[in-house]
C-alpha cells in the first residue's frame, strides 16, 4: 500500500511527522527509533536570537489534553542552523523548520538565515504561538498582519512556506485565504487553543505564564472542523494536527482534507507514537476501504 504523499517541496514516504515543539531537534527520540521511519520532521521553533522562554511550571495536564507555555525557548536560528540541524542530515527524512518571531523583521531574519541551510526542505511559519506576549499570535488572529508576514517571508525564502494557523479565531477560512493570497504554499493547522488551569491549593494558575496552549485529543474536533472548513473553501495543501493519537485519527484528518499530519502531544505519552501510527496506517486504510493515503485525502467531503 502506498503511504507516499507529495506536497510543495516535500516528497513524503508517509504522511506522519512529529509536530513542532514536541520533538526538539530530533536527537532524543532518535534514541527510541530510527528517524528514517518518519514522513518528515518539524523541529522546534527558531527565533532571531536565543530565547529563554517563560518561567516554570510550563506544562499542566487537562482532561484528554495538556497546556503548555514554553514561550518559544530556543537557542536562536544561527545556533539551530549550525548546531542542531546537521544532526538530522544523515536521515532520509525531510526537515521542516518552524519560524517564529515578534516582528515582521524577525520573521524575515529567521527565514533568511534558514535559507542558508541545506538541511531543511520547507518552512513552517508559526504565526500562532499563544504563549509569548510578543510571539506572533497577533499575526495569527489578524488577516492583514498574517498576509503581510507571509508575503515578506515568502519573499525572503527559497523554501516552500507552510503557514501555521491559530485556532483562536472566529473565522479560520478568512485567515487561510489571507495567507493563501499572500503566497503560502501550504497551511499547517492547528496550533494550540489558549487555556488555563487553576491550582486549587495555591489559588493561582498552574502555568507560571498563567495561560498556556491546549493540545491533545481534547482539541481534535476543533482541528477537524477547521481543516474541513478550509478545505471546502480553498485549494491549498494542509498539514493537519491536533490530538492525533492513532492511525484512525490520521485517517480522520485525511478525510477532513489534510494532505499530511503532524503528531504533537502523543509523543510525550508514547515516545514511539509516530512509528507505531505509521505501522498501523496501511491496515487502517485498508479496513476503511482505501488503497493509498492519496486516495483518502478529502474523502470526507463527498458523503
Amino acid at each position: 500500500m502506498s503511504l507516499a504523499v507529495q506536497l510543495p517541496g516535500l516528497e513524503l514516504k508517509n504522511p506522519v511527522m512529529p509536530a513542532s515543539g514536541c520533538f526538539g531537534f530530533g536527537k532524543e527520540y532518535s534514541q527510541f527509533y530510527d528517524l528514517d521511519k518518519l514522513g518528515a520532521i518539524i523541529v522546534k521553533a527558531a527565533t532571531g536570537e536565543a530565547r529563554y522562554g517563560n518561567p516554570t511550571p510550563r506544562v499542566a495536564e487537562t482532561e484528554s489534553g495538556m497546556l503548555n507555555a514554553i514561550g518559544l525557548q530556543n537557542p536562536g536560528v544561527e545556533t539551530i542552523v549550525k548546531e542542531e540541524l546537521p544532526f538530522l542530515r544523515p536521515f532520509h527524512t525531510p526537515v521542516i523548520a518552524n519560524v517564529a518571531g515578534s516582528t515582521v523583521e524577525e520573521y524575515v531574519y529567521v527565514a533568511k538565515t534558514l535559507n542558508k541551510s541545506d538541511d531543511i526542505s520547507a518552512l513552517e511559519l508559526n504565526i500562532s504561538c499563544p504563549n509569548v506576549k510578543e510571539g506572533g499570535v497577533q499575526f495569527g488572529t489578524d488577516p492583514e498582519l498574517a498576509k503581510e508576514v507571509t508575503y515578506k517571508v515568502k519573499e525572503a525564502s527559497d523554501y516552500p512556506v507552510y503557514v501555521k494557523l491559530s485556532p483562536n479565531v472566529s473565522n479560520i477560512t478568512a485567515m487561510a485565504k489571507a495567507v493563501a493570497d499572500a503566497g503560502a504554499d501550504g497551511l499547517s493547522m492547528i496550533n494550540t487553543l489558549t487555556g488555563m488551569q487553576i491550582n486549587l491549593k495555591q489559588r493561582k494558575p498552574i502555568i507560571a505564564n498563567q495561560t498556556g496552549g491546549l493540545s491533545g485529543p481534547a482539541i481534535k474536533p476543533i482541528a477537524i472542523r477547521m481543516i474541513y472548513e478550509v478545505k471546502q473553501a480553498l485549494d491549498i495543501p494542509i498539514i493537519g494536527m491536533g490530538g492525533i493519537m492513532t492511525a484512525e485519527d490520521v485517517l480522520e484528518f485525511l478525510l477532513a482534507g489534510a494532505n499530511a499530519v503532524a503528531v504533537g502531544t502523543a509523543n510525550f505519552q508514547n515516545p514511539l507514537a509516530c512509528p507505531e501510527i505509521i505501522q498501523q496506517l496501511p491496515e487502517t486504510l485498508k479496513k476503511y476501504g482505501f488503497r493509498s493515503v492519496e486516495e483518502a485525502i478529502g474523502k470526507g467531503h463527498e458523503g
Binding site: G21, C22, F23, G24, K27, E28, Y29, Q31, F32, K44, A50, Y52, G53, T56, P57, R58, V59, A60, E61, T62, S64, G65, M66, N68, I70, Q73, I206, G216, T265, N267, F268, Q269, N270, P271, L272
Partner: protein, 253 residues
C-alpha cells in the same frame, strides 16, 4: 540506552501514610544509577509521572520506586496491583556522580518524597566504603519510611514538622547541630528545603536533585528548565541534564 518498557509489577505495598513501594523487574541491559528516575504512563492521563529509582536489587534483577499520593496520577498509581503491567520509560536523567568524586563522609539530606532516591545513593556510597550520615525530614510520624534501612547505612536522624516523631522541626535544625566534618552532601526534597539546605551548607560541596512538572521527560519539550547561576538567561533541562545538579549550578526559586 533509554527505552519504553512494559513492566509487570512484582510487588506493590503501602509503607507509610499515602506512601507506596513498588518493585518492578529491571529489564535486561538497563542500568539504573542513583538519582535517575523513571517516567510512568497511567491510563486516562495525557502526561507521564516522573518517579525516582529508590533501590536496585542486582541479584533479583528488580528495582524499587517509592511514591506518595499527591494528586490524580499518583492516586491512580496507588491502585495498581502486583501482576499488572506498567508502561515505563527508563532510565531517565542524570545521576549522582559518585564514581568521579572523592568522598569519605557523605551527608544525605532528604525531605518527604525526596528521600527515596537517596536510599539507593546511600547504599552505593556505603558499598564504596564511604561513611554515610542521613538526615531525613517528614511532615509527621505517620509518613516516615525506610528509617531502619537508612540506619543500616550509618547514623540517621529523623525530623518531623509536627514533632510527632523524632526531632520536631526541619532537617536544617538537625544539620546545624551535626558537628561532623563531611566532604559532600547530597540532597533531595521540596524546593524550600533545598534552598535552606544549600544556603546552610553553601561552603560545602554538594549535589541536589530537583523536581519540575514535565512534558516529555526526555529532553525534547523544554517544559522542565532551570536557570543557571552563572547566566540566568541560560538553562538546563531537569529531565535530561538533571534531575541531579551540582548544588550551586542552578538558581532555585
Amino acid at each position: 540506552m533509554i527505552s519504553k518498557q512494559m513492566l509487570n509489577i512484582e510487588s506493590h505495598i503501602k509503607i507509610a501514610e499515602d506512601t507506596f513501594e513498588v518493585v518492578l523487574p529491571l529489564p535486561d541491559e538497563i542500568e539504573l544509577k542513583p538519582g535517575q528516575f523513571v517516567h510512568i504512563a497511567l491510563k486516562g492521563h495525557m502526561l507521564r509521572r516522573p518517579v525516582s529509582v529508590a533501590d536496585v536489587d542486582k541479584e533479583a534483577n528488580t528495582f524499587t520506586i517509592i511514591f506518595k499520593i499527591f494528586g490524580e496520577g499518583t492516586l491512580a498509581l496507588s491502585k495498581y496491583r502486583a501482576g499488572e503491567s506498567l508502561d515505563v520509560i527508563l532510565p531517565c536523567g542524570s545521576f549522582y556522580p559518585i564514581e568521579n568524586i572523592n568522598v569519605n563522609h557523605a551527608l544525605i539530606v532528604g525531605g518527604g518524597i525526596g528521600v527515596p532516591p537517596l536510599y539507593y545513593l546511600g547504599k552505593q556510597l556505603k558499598e564504596k566504603g564511604v561513611k554515610v550520615t542521613s538526615v531525613l525530614g517528614f511532615q509527621s510520624g505517620s509518613q516516615v519510611f525506610y528509617e531502619d534501612k537508612f540506619r543500616a547505612l550509618g547514623d540517621t536522624f529523623v525530623a518531623t514538622n509536627d514533632g510527632s516523631y523524632g526531632h520536631k522541626g526541619f532537617v536544617t535544625d538537625i544539620i546545624k547541630d551535626l558537628n561532623k566534618p563531611i566532604d559532600y552532601y547530597f540532597s533531595c526534597g521540596p524546593t524550600p528545603m533545598l534552598q535552606a539546605v544549600t544556603k546552610q551548607l553553601e561552603k560545602e560541596k554538594g549535589y541536589i536533585s530537583l523536581e519540575e512538572r514535565m512534558g516529555c521527560g526526555v529532553g525534547t519539550c523544554y517544559a522542565c528548565v532551570i536557570p543557571l547561576r552563572e547566566n540566568p538567561k541560560q538553562s538546563k533541562k531537569i529531565c535530561k541534564d538533571g534531575p541531579v545538579f551540582y548544588a550551586n549550578e542552578v538558581i532555585l526559586s
